[in-house]
Symmetry: C2
Subunit: 349 residues, 2 copies
């Protein structure tokens, strides 16, 4: 052991309990949180928000975010890994309040994967970026031997500009705020699972994968400084995202079950698969924590946008039970909505 | 077929010749170049330099670069995938003339990989970043099923600031310029190969993996606008990097075999393995194409730096044979140093 090393030598995560990486370590739940807080953050000397960081350059605030996409299967109803990667990164920037400025894409290809599928994914990413109006300015490509990858992984990194007057952060949630979402939850995760499990429904369930920069800009336009937190509820779903906000801000969150927008066919699939839609990943949804006096304006702005027509107030921030999310059920009962240990669905994004 | 779609529908890369991804598609040679030029660039609407891009924000020039690291084995003499990822990204920024500002790291872990090894890699990346003085500000972690990955992949993205007066680009190489490198070539690739092939040498060959931001700053300090091109010769080695410069700038490049710094043990390993050190990857080397009148000052500055003690002038830019690199051998012969089709060494970075 080097004495006086500036670097921590022992892993702060106890290695005897989970000596090997589990799928649940990537699931957005408690195990992943532990891996971040007790391994990656101390190792990397980083303690920031894992979803995106702010940099100050020449008097401009930049948002910076990276995401690795390993979704299986890579093509699914409503999208594919290429468009998903672009939308996911654009949405992470949007959650920081940033307008997208440029993207970088890295591809890890497995030997033997069809070149035509590489074209399909790359074109899908390119089209998604063009629709958003953000250029892909740089990238990288690596190939791994057969059996050492899974067809294609896409890693996107985004840089965006945060306009003046915008100041969003999980810690800014305060009692009295209301929680708004722009539409139906759990569509993405259930679309993936229905393909994986070979489930047939009367209608095809589609992923909600979509870029939310424009919807977010519309909301900021009417509410600007009154938007306290934005969060895209991807891995771990709405429940995990709200728990994170409650924990960081030290506030309670109360959800109203009756107001949660869930499609009947998604609810049905969840029951079949034993899943709770609150924990299922979304890829075209944003949670907004806003001051109550702008709620009407925000809802109006969202409903005037193609991606916000089913927007709803789903809960509020309270003084009680700080750090916890509590659901008020349809019949008036209350239950704690906790963070799961692993996740319900591996490789969903 | 959608008529009038703004997007190209047919893959411009002929799919019948190579219908499936080959390891050589990631090797830095001709096949990879084709994949970039005829698939990724048209699909992504990107035509820029694959190694890094410049963005203008608030009057500041930013460099932006991303790299996926899939080196096998992940631990090797002189480094590991964690420090390699940080050094590689810092060096890509340095090659743009940029000082590193912030890094993002994404990890793709395979189920079953030891958590202790994750700690070793993450700590190594964190230490490398600390030594460079660049913070890791954001990241992502994904886990894939056993057999769908290879232990650990690390994807790093960097943002850097290009100081005023610095203007480097491959197209700026001009006849009369001299080509300088900061030390011995091929160390990284041979260190990896000697582990993979189980070769035993009298001394352990070490990777040259190192961050070059500080050396580059020292060179720019003495030569600033007279540094025309910088390029880190990683995949594909010195030969491939120089071919790229010759092609883009439309100039010829003449190399002098006798002045190429190759360690005897690396030369020996290359002969044993049937490799040409000119094509073997480096991870701590930079090629500088500079005006001849600053060559002495640049060499002096480099030799005064720990990472430039073995700096040498290895060739020059000429009017003749535009687009080609020609080697003048020790005995006075001349041979064309072409781009290889695939690569000599898969998964070297």
């Amino acid at each position: 052991m080097e004495r006086g090393s500036p670097f921590q030598l022992e892993c702060p995560l106890p290695l005897d309990e989970y000596p090997h990486v589990l799928l649940a370590h990537g699931g957005g739940g408690r195990l992943m949180h532990m891996l971040l807080e007790r391994l990656f953050f101390p190792a990397l000397g980083s303690s920031g928000d894992h979803d995106g960081a702010l940099l100050e350059v020449g008097g401009v605030r930049l948002a910076f975010t990276t995401d690795a996409f390993v979704v299986s299967p890579w093509r699914f109803p409503g999208g594919d890994i290429g468009s998903l990667a672009v939308h996911g990164t654009v949405n992470d920037l949007a959650a920081c309040g940033a307008r997208p400025l440029a993207l970088a894409t890295a591809f890890i290809l497995e030997e033997g994967f069809p070149v035509e599928s590489v074209w399909e994914v790359a074109r899908s990413a390119g089209e998604a970026a063009t629709r958003v109006g953000v250029p892909v300015v740089t990238g990288d490509t690596k190939v791994v031997d057969r059996g050492k990858g899974d067809g294609i992984f896409v890693i996107t990194t985004g840089v965006g500009v945060v306009p003046e007057g915008v100041d969003v952060a999980p810690a800014r949630a305060r009692p009295g705020d209301v929680i708004v979402i722009n539409g139906f939850i759990a569509d993405h995760g259930i679309a993936i699972m229905s393909v994986r499990e070979g489930l047939a429904f009367e209608t095809t369930l589609q992923s909600d994968s979509a870029p939310l920069h424009d919807l977010v800009a519309a909301v900021l336009e009417v509410a600007r400084g009154q938007v306290h937190v934005m969060r895209d509820p991807t891995r771990g779903g709405v429940a995990t995202a709200l728990n994170e906000i409650a924990r960081v801000a030290g506030v309670g969150i109360e959800l109203d079950e009756a107001s949660l927008p869930v499609r009947p066919e998604v609810q049905g699939a969840c029951e079949l698969l034993g899943l709770d839609p609150l924990y299922v990943a979304n890829e075209g949804k944003m949670l907004f924590v806003i001051a109550p006096d702008v709620a009407e304006h925000v809802l109006e702005a969202m409903r005037g946008h193609p991606l916000g027509q089913d927007a709803a107030v789903i809960g509020r921030v309270v003084d009680e039970h700080p750090g916890r999310v509590v659901m008020r059920s349809r019949i008036g009962g209350r239950r704690v909505v906790d963070v799961l240990s692993g996740e319900q669905l591996p490789r969903i994004c």
